[in-house]
């Protein structure tokens, strides 16, 4: 009587199917990737039920950090350069092409104009270490030291279709928001978007048609 042989299961698994799925997912993520931009400060926005999406193009974002610092950024690199040129002309400062190029890479910043030049000359690692003090604003919205005013004005001069989005942090105090609001209102900008997270509306709630 022959010995009963136990059939050994093969230790190798067919990985073709798994590879297929993995690469399918990979392709999907590569194609839909929209890279997170490096922000000057992390801002945690409050959430709202509003379903309006923030437009991708032609947008100017004014950030309001938790400590009340104001940040400014536009979406397009050409707009950024044009804005910088306009502001520089207004303030009587000149920037070298290298500095302009460096500036175009910043998605947002919070620096007074007189610190901008020295900041742009730093390396990427050093820039990350700099604590940005925020763009100066004031409560009247039209004061001589209000630099947000000139950034907003010159960005709109550079691109007239810019829409304005305000991105405030949960913990930002109201007076700082009011300063930004007054600055915009002083330029007769009365319509803007507040960037918020998305939260589910209460049960049974439907949007107005």
């Amino acid at each position: 009587m022959p010995a009963v042989k136990i059939k050994r299961a093969s230790s190798s698994v067919d990985m073709t199917a798994m590879t297929d799925v993995a690469f399918l997912l990979l392709t999907f993520f590569i194609l839909t990737a929209q890279f997170r931009s490096q922000d000057a400060a992390s801002i945690e926005t409050p959430s709202s039920i509003s379903g309006i999406k923030v437009p991708d193009n032609d947008i100017m974002t004014i950030g309001l950090g938790r400590d009340g610092k104001v940040y400014f950024g536009t979406d397009n690199q050409n707009t950024r350069i044009a804005t910088l040129e306009n502001v520089a002309a207004e303030k009587g400062i000149s920037f070298t092409p290298a500095e302009k190029k460096e500036f175009a890479l910043m998605s947002n910043f919070g620096l007074p104009i007189n610190q901008l030049k020295s900041y742009l000359s730093l390396s990427k690692e050093q820039q990350a270490k700099v604590k940005q003090p925020g763009i100066p604003t004031d409560s009247t919205g039209a004061g001589a030291n209000n630099e947000l005013k000139s950034w907003v004005y010159n960005a709109r001069k550079a691109n007239n279709n810019l829409r304005i989005a305000l991105k405030g942090d949960n913990l930002a105090k109201f007076p700082e928001f009011k300063n930004v609001l007054t600055t915009l209102q002083a330029q007769n900008i009365n319509k803007f978007n507040l960037i918020t997270g998305t939260e589910a509306p209460p049960a049974g709630w439907t949007a107005d048609k």
């Binding site: 590879t19 993995a22 993520f29 997170r36 949960n170 007769n188 507040l194």
Partner: protein, 178 residues
């Protein structure tokens, strides 16, 4: 996981014929899968998945002075946004008429208070005046504006100046120093 090849190296068997070794048609795909998942992980982490939404805020033109009809205090609910995520409201009376100051939180509690007062006057007459104080945060303001969207109240105003009588009222009733 990986397959271990234990086949002879195509060597000569004792006294046998020389046989050419057949190459296996199976390729070890483990490193490829590893790489695939590594890249997937990278792309998942590097992308922003949920796009933020936005709410529109329209503020009145400050350069134009329009004469508007005064609103009756009996239809107005004035909401003061105080510190520590608390809101205070008065309803039906002006601040100098010794109104009752009620305290609410945000969210559901606030909505309840709104709906209760809407019922008293009807939604076409009801006006909400939102007055954020300097103690309140940006989140508080967005929360209240969001409640306006949820309750579909169209008649509301965001006012940032507090009158003297309102300041005294808040100081006396809820010990809020502004």
């Amino acid at each position: 996981m990986a397959e271990i090849n234990t086949g002879g190296g195509g060597g000569k068997h004792d006294g046998g014929k020389v046989r050419s070794k057949k190459a296996s048609t199976r390729v070890d795909m483990t490193p490829m899968v590893d790489l695939g998942f590594l890249l997937i992980t990278f792309f998942i982490l590097a992308t922003t998945l949920s796009k933020p939404s936005s709410m529109t805020l329209n503020v009145p033109d400050k350069t134009k002075q329009e004469e508007t009809e005064p609103i009756k205090a009996s239809n107005v609910m004035t909401v003061f946004l105080g510190k520590d995520n608390k809101a205070y409201y008065i309803f039906g009376k002006a601040a100098n008429e010794d109104p009752e100051v009620k305290t609410v939180g945000y969210g559901y509690e606030f909505r309840q208070a709104l709906m209760e007062n809407v019922k008293k006057v009807g939604s076409d007459k009801f006006v909400v005046v939102i007055k954020p104080t300097k103690e309140s945060t940006y989140k508080n303001m967005v929360d209240v504006l969001d409640e306006m969207a949820i309750t579909k109240l169209k008649r509301y105003a965001l006012v940032d100046e507090l009158t003297d009588s309102e300041k005294t009222l808040l100081k006396d009733k809820v010990k809020l120093n502004i």
